[in-house]
């Protein structure tokens, strides 16, 4: 790729490049990397091993600082957890420094990820803008859109699912509710493929509080199997359903229990 082409890389091109290629190209073209390296003059107000704070040359207000990571990252999702944590702790410190230094009455902390969000440079940065009453800045007043509750709820469900997925993979936070649900799901899945393992699991899970019921739950199952004289083909299905019932007894969600009870009840009609 020639120098001339590099200057006109579109979003589309970026998507087609490997992360390594993008990183390399961006580092070469990145003014902020040059600033960090000291090749371009700037007014540094903070520096440590991971981050640099400089005065923005086009400030929204006097004292407008940008915090940039020393390593080149285009957007926030690319930044490793520890560096991100560090950057925002520095941000808090600089925000406090702004309050003291300029007797500011507040600060705006602003991050734009992606050109659509107003990001102009290909280097991730956090803006800290000291604010005073009636300073004439209205950029950060958030508009309020009319979106009906149902849609918000839908968005919430999508995001919750996604986040659980993300957190589940990393296992950073132990969400007991979720773990229980997951365990039940796994149990449910395991049962379909290998029944003995699952059935061995459920009495164990029942705990000592109600051994009688745990046994009782299985005993009728066996009895029913013997007595009802159902064909062998139907057996796995009904057994599965019955076990779902015992499993749901653990669950605190009454709704679910009701639904499964209905299912079991239907089996006998």
């Amino acid at each position: 790729m020639t120098e001339g082409q590099q200057g006109q890389v579109t979003e589309e091109d970026l998507k087609n490049m490997t992360p390594e290629q993008i990183a390399e190209m961006q580092k070469q073209n990145c003014i902020f990397c040059h600033i960090i390296a000291g090749k371009v003059a700037s007014r540094k107000v903070y520096e440590d091993d991971k981050a640099v704070g400089i005065l923005d040359i086009n400030p929204a207000n006097p004292g407008h600082v940008v915090i940039i990571p020393k390593e080149h990252y285009a957007i926030m999702p690319q930044i490793p957890e520890d560096i991100l944590a560090h950057l925002f702790m520095v941000t808090k410190g600089i925000s406090q420094a702004c309050l003291k230094a300029f007797k500011a009455q507040g600060t705006n902390i602003f991050v734009a990820n992606g050109a659509v969000a107003g990001q102009r440079a290909q280097h991730f940065m956090i803006h800290i803008i000291p604010r005073k009453e009636n300073d004439g800045i209205t950029s950060f007043k958030l508009p309020e859109k009319q979106i009906d509750e149902q849609q918000i709820e839908e968005i919430r469900k999508i995001l919750r699912q996604k986040l659980n997925e993300m957190m589940g993979l990393k296992e950073e936070v132990i969400d007991f509710d979720k773990k229980r649900e997951d365990a039940q799901q796994e149990e449910g899945e395991g049962k379909e493929s290998e029944e003995p393992a699952a059935s061995g699991k459920s009495p164990e899970d029942e705990g000592p509080e109600e051994p009688a019921e745990a046994e009782g739950d299985e005993a009728p199952d066996d009895i029913r199997k013997e007595l009802s004289g159902e064909g062998p083909e139907e057996e796995p299905e009904t057994e599965e359903q019955a076990e779902e019932g015992s499993e749901d007894k653990e669950s605190k969600k009454d709704e679910e229990i009701d639904i499964d009870i209905d299912k079991i009840a239907d089996l006998f009609k």
């Binding site: 006097p62 999702p77 930044i79 420094a97 950029s139 950060f140 919750r160 986040l163």
Partner: protein
């Protein structure tokens, strides 16, 4: 928890449907969103402004905000995200509970957070630089979370009497079959 704080009440409200919750923060959708996909990352503890929030909660809250940002990109087809903190009344903060806005952005959503740059002279910039440098000297020592004593989790399982009756009823039916 502060009783007259809207967000403290939201956090305590068990019926309020959350996107995410752990021991330090909760994430909820904004009731009056700026776009489809506007969520708030709120520390559970009541802090008015970021300066009051312990460093380890700041870093945790922004790390969750980052995850929300990724989720917006991947699940709601956002083309960009903004992370905005309005810190202090002068900065447009309306409620006395610190939180982080994470906003999904899409082409043509009609929003623009760009500011009009102020023209400042070289001398003025130099003064500002010195003023703030003086104050940033103390930045860099960050609070770590104190290690909590390990709590032994005792497993208890509550079973509501209503379901138990139903189970028993079914079990009876099972037993009556012979």
């Amino acid at each position: 928890m502060k009783k007259d704080c809207h967000y403290c009440q939201l956090i305590a409200d068990k019926d309020k449907k959350k996107i995410y919750e752990d021991d330090k923060v909760v994430v909820i959708p904004h009731d009056k969103p700026a776009t489809e996909g506007h969520v708030l990352v709120i520390p559970k503890e009541h802090y008015a402004i970021i300066e009051q929030v312990p460093d380890y909660i700041v870093s945790h809250a922004f790390s969750i905000a980052n995850k929300m940002s990724v989720a917006l990109f991947e699940s709601l087809n956002a083309q960009g995200t903004n992370i905005i903190v309005n810190n202090g009344v002068a900065a447009g903060q309306e409620s006395a509970h610190f939180f982080i806005n994470v906003i999904a952005r899409r082409e043509g959503d009609g929003m623009d957070f760009q500011w009009r740059p102020k023209q400042l002279g070289e001398e003025e910039m130099s003064t500002i630089e010195l003023q703030i440098k003086e104050q940033t000297k103390s930045v860099g020592e960050f609070q770590q979370e104190k290690e909590k004593p390990i709590e032994m989790q005792t497993k208890t399982r509550k079973i509501s009497s209503g379901t138990e009756e139903k189970e028993n009823y079914l079990l009876k039916r099972f037993r009556k079959i012979p």
